[in-house]
């Protein structure tokens, strides 16, 4: 293959990577990047990057640009860092980082490439370039999806209509006339949800469908649902209602989220995150009732409504999902969006018929509008998610873009797929029944964040990594197999195929699709039911939420009961380790062979569903009757009559009564009250009140965390650190091994924190999270750390004492878990060091919220997502004002209201709680502790590092790593001339951090006796509680207190979660290095050793760049 150089006209051979991108031959096109990179030298990779960079800038074709961008990302992220000769120390410019935050990716790339040309390639620049290319790749894809959604015919006009007088829609006359002297008619839409019968290998991600339409195929079944044991019969789970009202407002209500609002301005319609009604608002916009073009027009909503329904009138939209929990992986929210859009389109004459099913082109339009609505709401699913709009069983496939499509010439496939409905001649009624009789659908209860998974799938597809690409081919084969088995009516065969799919291709493409909970369940089902268990089937992006188990129909009933019990039991065992959002449920389901359907209720029947009245009636009843509009009065009369006469309204008066009267707190739950817990945990009320006063008076806060602006911050020199990652030092090794053999070293794993970022404030114990499959099994952080100590002990011939520090939140779970796991068979002494300090979270000051969101650099999101987050921020500032700034945060489970007070306390706790004393008593030869964070998986008792520490004679040796772009939070610096670790939140200016080459890994080697001296103590003092307490208090007073904002989740309803920012205080260990009497040395270690796993989204890169294998090599599994 050759191409013109574009300047001199002669042809030059194509670079092999460009060949891969341009080739139409699948044999070349589907070659993996890894194969090329593995054999290439550093120079060859840099040359490839240069070629790809030029190539991607020259090409117009979406696919070619995006694939080049992902190649560039992968080379900089995974391949360059491993090549010998790459410079380790470097600085990343703050300007470049700011560009990244502001989504100016091209500018960031230019800047980083300039730096690379000037200074040569380096680890830090590689990481920055990788981040920029990665985000630019996804931005390019998102732009294309947005462009396609807007250019779909039937959607374009909504972006042009900018004035109420321009509005081309009118509500249909059937809905405008109340029955004589009666109520306005109500149009109701009922929509099934969809289940993905094969698990499509995520091939319904938009980009996959648009680039690889041949591989984008899904077997999608529309189903009705019921919660087993709660509901009578399966019914379409999603409902939406539309009616005209006699007030000029948009009245929105979500029966399930217990939310309602009267929107009175156009701006209010576009404010998605203000309340729980964002989905309804997105539907109103996507259906064209409030066209997108009206956003920011400054016009009056009242005028718009006058055009639509006449002066003085408005529209009411009500949604209901019949208590189906969130995270079911049945696309409930997309189905609801589609349902709402369908009812609004019908009401405004955008469909042929007001009631009954939709025509094919109308279903396609609803699906495309649902995609638009998801984009508006800042979310996004796959293209199969509106499948419930169609009836029965269908094969949905990607379609090649043809001339006339907006995608033609840009991508190979169209945005919207084609739907082939499999009729009863293809899948017989008997087979459908058999499927219903065999399959048990469940929600395992696990909370899930599938966003990162969808990005991983796209990335891996583009890179054609060998194992994943083979997996994709296999998954496509299994889909064909399932379709054939369906035609044949072989349900048992389907079970076998879906099981193979899950444990084979799905787990290969995305290892994070499975987890300990799911696999434990499958094992238990298999053990209990043997041959009668026909197969497991995963729904959607991750397992643990919506799942399917296929049984011999004879056992189905027993299996339903057994499965519910077993899920509950397994959840109980794992709930402190994994983020569960709700109690597991089992569904009853039935295949829906009609698709979405609308009905019209008129006259006396024109009432909303009963749940609606339990939501709105209390407020109406509190108002004077005369202040209600005539329609409201009439409606209340009809509602009253219905309560007396209609069976579906039978229990409503009781619920209404309950809602009207306040509830006694003790009725609400059995958890230990917060006040009791605070007393039990030794909460220091005096200190808390002092912090509150300081916070409210502005003496402490996010801005006050910072050192004065005049502080001199400089980078550490090379001579300030010991480069331990490069040199093999025999003397260190020898000294270290000797110390290990003599049993003079112990490990301290800091596990008091809850890892807010790991589960976004879910309050589970990160230390126990079975985060990755290592050595063939899912392993928790604690197990990994113990396995490393086990190996060190074995090599030294002397078991290593291991201490795990805990806090009020983590102590009991860790203790019980270790007990159940019998300490993972750890041969050495294992201590838990319980925390002695606890804080009570506070409602943040709006000053601090504004500082965090407006003054500190924030990652700007995609256009629409950014609007949503800004609206959310405004809502949260309102929440803080309403709740009272600086007041105690108590509106959550007691455990979620408390916080650990920073890892500084974890070492003094060892002194105060007697664990160090006991440790030294049992192991008097102990001289050194290696303490590390729970998420520093690569930290082990490396003999050379230990020797380096011992031979230095310092009190502490602190490990640092070369900074990469994602390493935020301070580092090693000369602060006013003194070398020390400094926290990111203490740096006077944001840009100061980018002057620092070394990042704190928070792994420290500590000389016990010298540290005690710093506290003014000796070993013998450790038994003297008072003395120790005084020493700790005196030291604590010298340590700065930081105010931080942390996310905390509040769970409610059926799997719903809200995240609130709360204020808490912390003291951090790194500040000890500022003490003149604490002699400290700094050693630079490798990334693999020093990197910390803060977010689950890091895991895939960690697995792929060899870090996981490195950790595995440090472990002896029991």
């Amino acid at each position: 293959m050759r191409m013109s150089d574009g300047q001199n006209g002669y042809e030059m051979p194509l670079h092999p990577l460009v060949q891969i991108i341009l080739s139409t031959d699948p044999g070349i096109r589907n070659r993996s990047l890894d194969a090329f990179c593995a054999a290439a030298s550093l120079d060859a990779l840099l040359m490839a990057c240069e070629v790809l960079e030029t190539f991607r800038r020259q090409r117009d074709n979406l696919y070619e640009r995006v694939r080049a961008l992902f190649f560039l990302y992968a080379i900089y992220r995974f391949h360059l860092p491993g090549k010998p000769g790459l410079r380790q120390r470097s600085l990343i410019s703050y300007e470049g980082y700011s560009h990244l935050l502001q989504r100016r990716f091209e500018e960031a790339i230019d800047l980083f490439l300039d730096a690379q040309r000037r200074e040569g390639p380096s680890l830090g620049l590689s990481s920055a370039l990788a981040a920029a290319y990665h985000r630019l790749g996804f931005q390019t894809l998102a732009d294309q999806v947005r462009h396609s959604v807007r250019s779909v015919r039937g959607n374009q006009w909504m972006f042009r209509a900018g004035h109420p007088m321009d509005h081309p829609l009118r509500v249909r006359p059937e809905l405008l006339q109340p029955a004589s002297g009666g109520l306005f008619p109500i149009l109701g839409e009922a929509t099934p949800v969809r289940m993905d019968l094969s698990h499509s290998g995520w091939s319904d991600i938009f980009f996959l469908g648009m680039d690889f339409p041949e591989g984008a195929r899904v077997l999608n079944v529309s189903i009705d649902l019921a919660i087993h044991g709660r509901d009578a019969d399966p019914r379409p789970p999603v409902e939406a209602y539309f009616r005209v009202i006699d007030e000029p407002v948009l009245r929105l209500a979500s029966v399930d989220l217990r939310a309602r609002a009267d929107v009175t301005s156009l701006a209010g319609v576009f404010d998605f995150a203000r309340d729980y009604l964002g989905l309804l608002k997105a539907a109103l916009i996507a259906a064209g009732i409030v066209p997108s073009g009206m956003e920011g027009s400054g016009e009056r909503l009242e005028d718009l409504l006058a055009t639509l329904v006449g002066p003085g009138r408005g529209i009411e939209i009500v949604s209901r999902v019949n208590g189906i929990p969130k995270g079911s992986r049945l696309a409930v929210s997309t189905s609801l969006l589609a349902c709402l859009i369908a009812v609004c389109m019908r009401a405004t004459g955008q469909t042929q018929s007001l009631v009954g099913p939709l025509q094919e082109y109308e279903r396609r339009l609803v699906a495309s509008r649902a995609i638009l609505g998801e984009w508006l709401g800042g979310s996004g699913g796959g293209w199969q998610d509106s499948g419930g709009v169609w009836p029965g069983v269908k094969l949905i496939t990607g379609e090649l873009a043809k001339s006339g499509d907006p995608e033609h010439g840009i991508s190979r496939g169209r945005l919207l797929p084609g739907h082939h409905i499999m009729g009863f001649d293809e899948v017989s009624a008997e087979t459908r029944q058999r499927l219903q009789d065999s399959l048990i659908l469940v929600h395992g209860g696990l909370a899930q964040d599938v966003g990162p998974i969808l990005e991983m799938v796209t990335e891996k597809y583009l890179l054609r990594s060998e194992a994943e690409w083979i997996g994709r081919q296999q998954a496509m084969g299994i889909l064909d197999e399932v379709a054939a088995l369906l035609r044949k009516g072989d349900v048992r065969g389907i079970g076998d195929a879906t099981t193979r799919n899950f444990f084979g291709p799905i787990s290969t493409i995305i290892p994070w699709a499975t987890n300990l909970y799911t696999e434990t369940l499958v094992d238990r089902v298999r053990a209990e039911f043997g041959d009668d268990f026909w197969g497991f089937w995963m729904l959607g992006g991750m397992s643990g939420g919506g799942m399917g188990f296929i049984f011999d129909p004879r056992c189905r009933e027993a299996a339903q009961t057994w499965l519910l019990e077993t899920m509950r039991g397994t959840k109980w065992e794992l709930e402190t380790a994994m983020p569960f959002a709700m109690e597991p449920v089992v569904y009853d389901f039935a295949i829906n062979n009609v698709g979405t359907v609308a009905s019209l209720w008129e006259g006396d029947d024109a009432l909303m569903p009963p749940g609606y009245y339990t939501l709105v009636a209390p407020a109406l009843l509190r108002r004077t009757y005369q202040t209600l509009t005539p329609q409201r009065r009439l409606e209340l009369e009809h509602f009253g009559a219905a309560c007396r006469s209609r069976s579906e309204f039978a229990g409503v008066p009781q619920v209404l009564f309950d809602n009207l009267l306040p509830r006694w707190r003790s009725e609400e739950g059995s958890a230990k009250p917060l006040a009791e817990l605070l007393v039990e945990l030794g909460f220091d009320r005096v200190q808390h009140e002092q912090i509150r006063t300081d916070l409210r008076e502005g003496r402490i806060g996010l801005a006050q965390n910072r050192l004065p602006a005049s502080t001199d911050i400089r980078d550490a020199e090379v001579s300030d650190v010991v480069a331990a990652y490069t040199c093999q030092n025999e003397a260190w090794e020898e000294a270290g091994m000797a110390a290990l053999r003599s049993g003079s070293v112990a490990v301290v794993t800091l596990a008091a924190g809850v890892g807010s970022r790991w589960t976004h404030g879910a309050g589970v114990v990160k230390a126990l999270h079975p985060f990755c499959r290592l050595g063939g099994q899912h392993r928790s952080f604690i197990e990994v750390h113990l396995a490393k100590s086990r190996r060190s002990g074995r090599l030294a011939g002397c078991p290593v004492p291991h201490v795990i520090t805990t806090s009020y939140l983590t102590h009991e779970p860790i203790r019980d878990f270790l007990r159940r796991q019998q300490n993972y068979g750890y041969p050495g002494a294992l201590y838990l060091s319980p925390g002695r300090a606890v804080g009570l979270r506070m409602i943040p000051m709006t000053r601090d919220l504004r500082f965090a969101w407006e003054e500190m650099p924030q990652q700007l999101l995609d256009e629409q997502a950014q609007k949503v987050i800004e609206s959310l921020h405004a809502a949260l500032i309102g929440w803080a004002e309403q709740m009272g700034e600086g007041s105690d945060y108590t509106d959550n489970l007691p455990q979620q209201c408390l916080h650990p007070v920073g890892h500084w306390f974890e070492i003094p706790n060892l002194l105060r709680n007697g664990v160090l004393a006991r440790l030294l008593e049992a192991h008097p030869q102990l001289t050194t502790l290696m303490m590390h964070n729970i998420d520093t998986t690569g930290a082990d008792l490396n003999p050379a590092l230990l020797g380096c520490h011992l031979l230095s004679g310092k009190t502490m040796t602190s490990e640092v790593i070369h900074r990469c772009v994602e390493d935020r939070g301070g580092g090693l610096a000369r602060v006013n001339g003194t070398l020390r670790l400094i926290e990111g939140l203490a740096l006077p200016r944001e840009e100061d951090e980018f002057k620092l080459s070394y990042y704190n890994s928070n792994t420290m080697w500590v000389d016990i006796d010298r540290l005690l001296q710093v506290f003014g103590l000796e070993r013998d003092d450790l038994r003297n509680e008072r003395r120790v307490a005084e020493a700790v208090r005196a030291m604590a007073a010298r340590m700065p207190t930081y105010i931080t904002l942390k996310d905390v989740k509040k769970r409610w309803g059926h799997g719903q979660e809200d995240i609130f920012p709360v204020a808490q205080f912390e003291k951090l260990w790194g500040d000890m290095t500022a003490l003149p009497q604490l002699a400290c040395q700094y050693v630079v270690v490798s990334q693999m050793r020093g990197q910390q796993l803060k977010e689950q989204a890091q895991l895939d890169g960690w697995l792929r760049d060899g870090s996981a294998a490195y950790v595995d090599s440090l472990c002896d599994w029991a």
Binding site: M345, G349, Y361
Partner: protein, 289 residues
Amino acid sequence: MQIVKSVITAAGRDQRALPLQRLIDRDGVEKSVLRILVEEVLSAGIEEVAIVVAPGDEGAYAEAIGHYARQAQFILQEEPRGYGHAIYCAREFVGDASFLHLVGDHLYVSRVPGTCAQQLVAVARSMACPVSAVQATRENLLPYYGTLGGRRVPGRRDLYVVETVIEKPTPTEAELRLMAPGLRPGHYLCFFGMHVFTPSVMQILGQRLADAGAGEQVDLSGALAELARREKYLALEEQALRYDVGVKYGLLTAQLALALSGNDRELVLTRLLELLAQREMGATGDADV
């Protein structure tokens, strides 16, 4: 193709006074709306005019058209069964001939020499097929008009082959099914209220009326969609503007349009300017300056 007959529909039950409204025509003479329309059709070589009216209106309408009443006959639409039915009432008048059809509540102002009816009839004669006059209309006005989709006749910028017709479409339907080349975004070909039909339209209307239930309304657009499926049917984008006198300020707008394109253009412009100036100055208290 001979076109010597014309049918004007003015049987709308809620707009019975519209054809009687009086305006100053371009020639400076005061006339009723209906008379202006009759003059329009006669300008195109039409010899016989039928006006479809609601029972009881014939006397007043005859008076409104003055001496033209001699060339016109009034046909009664006994029951209000829609626009399509009103045209169908003239089936016997039309017989086997092609005919020019106008609605009774629109007025037309040509931007080129010759009337709108003349332009349309000329095209229909030369193309020997039904032709509807259309105007590129912004999508916000779709709720008021029958709208069509089609492709251009090769070599003509103003002539389209009609492929489908939808009565008062939503913009969603319009984007999906009524695209026509050469129009600005958000613009569609909407009926002008003036057509030349062949007798097959009457056959289609007859069939649709027979298929409809008793008392059910039948519109024209559905019949025209059927016509487009059956035979060659064209649309002419006229060099003209139409004014619906039935909408809010419709009569006033139509009057201004007629006046500004007629003999009294200078006079009317002066009056308008005076009006504006007095109003503005009055508002600032400078009326006497």
